[in-house]
Subunit: 179 residues, 2 copies
DNA sequence: TATCAATAGTACTTTAACGAACTGTTCGTT
DNA sequence: AACGAACAGTTCGTTAAAGTACTATTGATA
């Protein structure tokens, strides 16, 4: 993923997983997302691109130049297969057992992956500064904390986030607020 | 950055900034970090690598094959310069005014950058699971609200999310809580 | 003094992904 | 019927960074 002349640092490129087959490079974030998404239901390349774009508010739009060859490559590797075709040369892909296995094996490293994400974020925040912490930075920190909340604290976490949500809702609909 | 056969997704590669000079590719996270770090004090390539590794607990160790050529390139571009040499062919680099300008212009996009980081986080969390609890539902709603917060309410939103973060932090480190 | 580890860097291949340009096929609108 | 937009995909060059192997120079230790 690369930013469109927006002069904004981007990332996504550092997501790497793999080596489950003893091979060297096994693809990064796009690959992982493909497996993850197809696990839910079969999709076309176009569907996948659109889904990511929608989910991230347009901040990540995987390039067609990457995604389509990636799909073909993953098919070759037996991770996904074409389950159907449609109009306009549409290919509908679904995940295979092999692909599912790989995904399972990868997400098992949830903890370590999260740690790395956190470290990355740390550097990011250091560079961009946090003296005037934007709401998004807070949200990202909240995100991290929620990832590591033990089950017995879930209820409390729900309460806290619920309160936050309520306050933000009030803020959002407060017309007399700060105008 | 790539993981050492740890089968863990990584990232760092997608950080991109630049285009301030109207050029196409202006380097990513490593470049940005170099500028950021040299701003504090002059350093060698080795210093920088070590610094990043130390700061991230070894989760990000920029490769020498990348960093040294990057330093030379940035020198060519007038972003940094050699301020001294030392034993063992050591080159000590410092940032130039041009480099400082570029860094300033880049971190000015703090808001957008933070948002993009968050989006990436979101996908990451979705893939690795654990986001189907009520707290995560709340977080998702919070995210949606933040997307539509007008600038004049930004400070208030920061306050609200900051409080939420604080409470979650306390929850996380509360050992007597629910054990 | 010899050896080894740490500092410092070079060259080059591979990986992951972007971006741009292009082709082809519908589908909706005028 | 013609046109434009959207769906669907291909080709290829570029960028960012990792990974590997290697060289060279100290500095510490036995």
């Amino acid at each position: 993923m690369r930013f469109r002349d927006g002069d904004i640092p981007g990332f996504h490129r550092h997501m790497r997983f793999g080596n489950e087959s003893g091979h060297h490079g096994r693809g990064g974030m796009i690959r992982l997302y493909i497996l993850h998404s197809l696990r839910k239901e079969p999709k076309t390349g176009y569907d996948l691109i659109k889904e990511i774009s929608d989910k991230t508010g347009g901040t990540w739009v995987p390039s067609k130049g990457t995604l389509y060859p990636m799909l073909r490559k993953m098919e070759d590797e037996g991770l996904i297969r074409i389950s159907g075709t449609g109009t306009r040369s549409k290919n509908i892909y679904e995940i295979t057992d092999g692909g599912n296995d790989l995904l399972e094996r990868t997400i098992r490293h949830r903890r370590e992956a999260g740690e790395k994400m956190y470290m990355f974020r740390k550097i990011f925040s250091e560079i961009f500064g946090r003296n005037n912490t934007p709401a998004w930075e807070n949200l990202s920190d909240i995100h991290h904390l929620l990832e590591n909340i033990p089950p017995e604290k879930e209820a409390k976490a729900t309460e806290i986030t619920g309160r936050c949500l309520e306050e933000l809702r009030r803020l959002a609909e407060d017309e007399s607020g700060n105008s």
